[in-house]
Symmetry: C2
């Protein structure tokens, strides 16, 4: 099998392979717009995903297409990029090729690995089927299905105990994803769904947010994280800090010796870097991340860069956080260093510029830490909305999200309460799927 | 297991069970708004589907949530309705109960069966996996996946013949669904996708519409059906009438002795009524439909009504067509007859009022037959758009569809080019899914 990028001698231009079309990979490709290189951007999906709004897809507030854009379409005018749909299965650093499942190897002169992370279940991979996490659109649709099906099963349930287990949701992990899920889920249960059922009162829905550390949203200052906790509690969420999950069963979550009856559990705790990092043959940290050099290259391999959630970059002794801005800026710096190497210039070190930290807790409640300036409440919420609309890719997505949000805000209803693939996929146990 | 509707003696009000939340079932439930009955509306999905726009979901033009609305949400203020998510597996006409998979039986005093139809593969059920049809949102997502994946596979293909097989699409059936799919697919291939690929020219996409009868759109007058054919051919679709599929393989379709190399086949021919009809124990026609009485009740069972695609209703010697208007009006008449029976009044016969027939062929091309007034071209197209926006359920869906259409029309781009569940579901053969 032959393909243009598979014939090393044909192209005089250096080949840059980018693994992953997320914030890091896409921004790197775009930063190489005018560089004399042939770029191949490889992704497992056909779209770039605006991950900060993924929880809104998982909670039926936005349709998946509002927060995604086809990679081909974003890059259609950039003629030095070929987009390839496929999954990287390994990297051969000696022969400088990327192995792709079911496709020919991709040779590279420069490689940028921006493959992101999946969830870490802290040594309990068997929990994944019972407590799905939220990284991709397929994940979000699965969470949406389980969230909506739980109310259907509660309506159908034959006894009070069973009904209560279907109306109890446990969210593990008090970072932004866990907090945002909890805040929006309680609102949907108590407002949007209230009149829709005849046998259950969805206002009795119980949402428990479990955080192992001493406080939720540890990336924020103490005072804001306290505000967030108070807001969640006002909405009716039970916030429990300093508590670790010890066991997950189809109808219960254990915290130490306490058994919490719950049919539906979502996982928003802990990252494990893509297993691709292992094939680089360099030291990884506990979370599986690559400890990169200051220029974001891999030790011993100046031609390989790692950015985003897969990279461990220390700055003033602290790791750069695994957020969109870190990946975007990392991608841009790696691209600039590729350009410099080609031009024979000295590379620059990565300097992460922290623009601030935002989170939304629920209707009219948000928090913002803007380099020391703290906002909360309605002001924080509006700031969050504005920033997220602005950063979305494409006019259509912005217009559509604005429309969905405006209608949801005014009517309290949710636009995407659609259960697709009602029959659960193979291998999913009966966690939230089967009745009594 | 007990549930309110399972305890016959508790409710003094007659129990009406409606199977199916499509046009027929939903309209019947709504028409019984003020009737002194307890209604249970049973559907396999949680949503009402606006089927006339389903082909736009299948072609990445609209997100699924724009043409669906949760049944619970539509009926939330109608307190005499309980919505139940579940699949009817049989009807016991002697004991007057509906069997529901994995749930208790539903006893009824009146039963309305509006379970619709699936596709008929004319004695070749094995074709279904190779040539999916378009009846549900899950069907539409599967067609969207295959349609978009075909271009990805073509871009990856190693030889010209294989590439051409991925760029050839065969649509079987020249009714409205087949025509609308063909018209929109050729536009997307030739316009929206054109700049997105590097190795293939999507303008070379070949779309073949096969119709077994002498002309496409047989429900329209001769002249309009000829206009539609001409429009499709202008767009670049190959329209072949009087040709029947004799065999479907993973990479080819046979028409008689001719082998057409094509990796992707869609099925838009022939209906087979829901198998539920069989459990009524009354005569069915060849398509599996129930030959109902003039009042839409089942012969010998005045308490059971059948409406929509599942019913064969003759009017002036001709069957009422299986279109939305037929189901809507049928549902309303059946509801009225239930109300009359309860009030001791005489039943009315069903009178189908044909409001007209519309179809869209592609950008700026539509046809309309309004009780003898024929429109085509841009006028027909605008009429089609207006009518479909007006008939959509809910302000949000209308606003969102309008926005998506406006942007698609102005930019030629498609908003929902999202491939979900990239790994094909279990049991799907390698039709459009595997590379060389």
């Amino acid at each position: 099998m032959t393909s243009p990028s598979n014939q090393p001698s044909e192209s005089p231009r250096p080949r840059v392979v980018i693994i992953g079309g997320g914030f890091g990979g896409l921004n790197a490709a775009q930063a190489l717009r005018d560089a004399p290189v042939e770029i191949t951007l490889l992704d497992r999906t056909n779209h770039h995903l605006f991950q900060p709004l993924l929880y809104q897809v998982a909670t039926a507030t936005l349709p998946p297409s509002d927060i995604t854009a086809p990679l081909r379409s974003i890059l259609r005018h950039q003629k030095n990029v070929t987009v390839l749909l496929g999954e990287a299965s390994g990297i051969d650093v000696t022969h400088k090729t990327v192995q792709v499942k079911g496709q020919p190897d991709l040779p590279y002169d420069y490689l940028l690995v921006a493959a992101g992370a999946r969830h870490s279940y802290f040594g309990h991979p068997e929990w994944e089927a019972l407590a799905p996490g939220l990284k991709s659109i397929d994940d979000a649709l699965e969470i949406r299905r389980r969230f909506l099906m739980a109310f259907e099963k509660a309506e159908e349930a034959s006894d009070e105990e069973d009904r209560s287990r279907y109306l109890t949701f446990v969210i593990v992990g008090g970072g932004p994803t866990g907090v945002e899920l909890a805040g929006i889920m309680i609102e949907i249960a108590r407002q949007a769904l209230r009149e829709d059922f005849r046998r259950i009162d969805t206002a009795r829905t119980h949402i428990i947010l479990l955080e192992g550390g001493p406080r939720i949203l540890p990336a924020f200052p103490d005072s804001l994280s306290l505000t967030a906790k108070k807001n969640l509690e006002d909405f009716g969420v039970e916030v429990r800090t300093g508590e670790m999950v010890t066991r997950i069963e189809p109808d219960a979550v254990w915290v130490g010796d306490e058994r919490i009856g719950a049919r539906t559990v979502f996982w928003a705790a802990g990252n494990a870097a893509s297993p691709l990092a292992k094939s680089l043959g360099v030291p990884l940290d506990k979370a599986g991340r690559v400890e990169v050099n200051a220029d974001l290259s891999v030790p011993g391999h100046p031609e390989i860069f790692v950015v985003g959630d897969l990279a461990l970059v220390l700055q003033r002794g602290k790791p750069v956080p695994g957020v969109a801005q870190g990946a975007i800026q990392g991608g841009q710096t790696a691209a600039e260093n590729i350009r410099r190497s080609l031009a024979g210039e000295a590379r620059i070190p990565f300097r992460y510029f922290d623009k601030g930290n935002l989170a939304t807790i629920g209707r009219d409640r948000g928090i913002a830490d803007l380099r020391g300036l703290h906002l909360s409440g309605r002001l924080g919420w509006w700031l969050w909305l504005t920033v997220h609309i602005l950063f979305l890719i494409g006019f259509r997505n912005r217009a559509s999200v604005l429309l969905q949000w405006a209608i949801s805000y005014l009517t309290y209803q949710r636009s995407s309460r659609l259960i697709t693939h009602i029959d659960p996929p193979q291998g999913v146990p009966e966690a939230a799927n089967t009745g009594p």
